[in-house]
Symmetry: C2
């Protein structure tokens, strides 16, 4: 009975892709794992699946640890579900050595979404990925998009430049602030304001929320905003009770409408494509490099650098040439 074999982890990628297109969740999950593991058949299928996407609305959410991003993501997913849209969630965990555990704890709060077949949640950690986090995240978004999700929420912990960059590659980027964390390390700085399409002050029932709103408003009036003609609205929310969530959904809708009406939509997607190509390129160079240097010849060159008989720039030039010429298209 070859037709009823279960979907094995080792199933060929073309089978996974075909089933994914028929909204088979297990196939989606296995396909994501296969792409993350760098399976070459999965990479090939990904290229074909890419053409099916482009329909989903991608929402990026970033903010400091403790700002309630996971709860906000969960509340947002429910709001979209309530109006009949399907949702994909990509929860990016940078596995920072200092933050790893706490963030995984937050993920548990998202588990209430798991009962809804219209929501697909995927957590991503740096460890175990063959490529960089940014490129891998974009791959997962492309797969959720091809699967047919209407909205894809990408949540990152904004502790490093990388994570902020990931949130930036969305159609609408939400930056979350929160009262009470003090401004020692956790307040929103000007740099992250520049990527915000919408600002959220979560935990707005805590003392100091109005102050955060006022501070953000003052900072907005000083700095350049991301899209000419669009001033990021500041939305107060209490994600745990869904206060402000319907209003936030409306703000996101309004942002999308603005982008489309103003012609910025296509420009932003082209800009994201540029970033995606760069990510792929860097991953490609890195993996080609890792393959190439597994030889005694190159090991000797690194020892030469350590002994200062060669300089690292000259060796890098040579290696780049070898990688480019020996390119086997992976």
């Amino acid at each position: 009975m070859p037709d009823v074999v279960p979907l094995l982890r080792s199933a060929p990628a073309h089978e996974l892709a075909a089933r994914l297109r028929q909204e088979d969740r297990l196939a989606l999950s296995r396909m994501i794992s296969a792409v993350e593991a760098g399976r070459s058949d999965a990479r090939r299928e990904l290229r074909h699946l890419f053409a099916l996407g482009g329909k989903a609305h991608v929402v990026g959410i970033t903010g400091p640890p403790g700002s309630g991003k996971s709860t906000l993501t969960t509340a947002l997913a429910k709001a979209y579900r309530a109006r009949g849209e399907t949702v994909g969630v990509v929860a990016v965990d940078p596995s920072s050595p200092f933050t790893g555990g706490a963030i995984l704890g937050d993920r548990i709060r998202m588990m209430e979404l798991h009962d809804d077949p219209g929501v697909f949640v995927r957590s991503m950690a740096t460890r175990g990925l063959t490529g960089g986090l940014a490129r891998s995240t974009m791959d997962v978004v492309a797969l959720l998009d091809a699967f047919g999700k209407d909205v894809i929420v990408v949540e990152t912990v904004g502790v490093g430049q990388d994570e902020v960059e990931i949130a930036r590659t969305a159609d609408s980027t939400i930056v979350v602030g929160v009262p009470g964390l003090g401004d020692h390390i956790q307040s929103i700085k000007a740099g992250v304001l520049e990527i915000a399409d919408i600002l959220v002050v979560n935990k707005a029932d805590l003392p100091g929320a109005q102050q955060v709103v006022n501070d953000l408003r003052a900072m907005l009036s000083l700095g350049a905003t991301r899209t000419p003609g669009w001033t990021p609205p500041i939305q107060e929310t209490v994600a745990t009770t869904a206060r402000g969530i319907p209003e936030l959904v409306k703000q996101i809708d309004a942002h999308v409408q603005f982008l489309k009406d103003s012609g910025s939509w296509r420009a932003r997607r082209a800009e994201n494509a540029r970033r995606q190509v760069l990510g792929i390129l860097e991953d490609h160079v890195r993996s080609a490099f890792e393959r190439t240097i597994r030889s005694e010849t190159w090991e000797a060159r690194f020892r030469n650098i350590a002994a200062r008989t060669e300089d690292p720039y000259a060796v890098a030039d040579e290696l780049l040439r070898e990688v480019a010429l020996g390119d086997d298209n992976e």
Copy 2:
């Protein structure tokens, strides 16, 4: 009087390099800025200067925000000065949008070192660098090394994978923990223990210090250590009063001695050379890419990706080929 013109910011790099070799601090400072700005003459001189280095002992220090790394670095620098060694300090500020301000504040504490001509302090931020932070940090270390510094301390805030990686590329890596920050986000996780050669529990006069020591000891007994045969010692310090600093200097000396006696020294330096070459390569690809795509042809390709008529992987492959073939050696 052409011979007595002051050292201008625009001075040619060969002049800066020559003066740097005569221990001219202003020339060192200008040379670092020229390399960071990506001046091609400075890059060329850097290659030559690289051959002069390899003598300095590089100490990496990383830990969570608030663990007193800057104070520890200052105390360590003073201890090395007290025994007659010259010191370079590279304070890496990742300019995380959420942490930027606070870290610059910490730097102020280092200012007491500025009066000592035997110490050279350089702060590095992500913004304004033409290359990645890791490569740029290694460039500054190479310049301090060529300048003749005996010890170079590289301090990073361990909030992201990148910063931890930078601290790792040292001869001796110190990971700093501290009591009282709770384990919500700021405690030391297993991942960062793997890179530690020496563990420091700073602010050891605070309640809970012994608990941190015990926890670290327990974690050490479970996980793999970085260098076979070397168990990272745990040193308690109070950096503000220099308590434990002489002992820490001895631990660092012992670590270097162990590496040299066991033959691990050269292996580690070769491994660091490998990382350095990878960093250079990635920067090179990124900048070549940035140059190449500034054309309407490529802009059209990105719009094609956004419109899903091309896939980003195919475009990346083509771009890699163009970058490799059009390589003008920067």
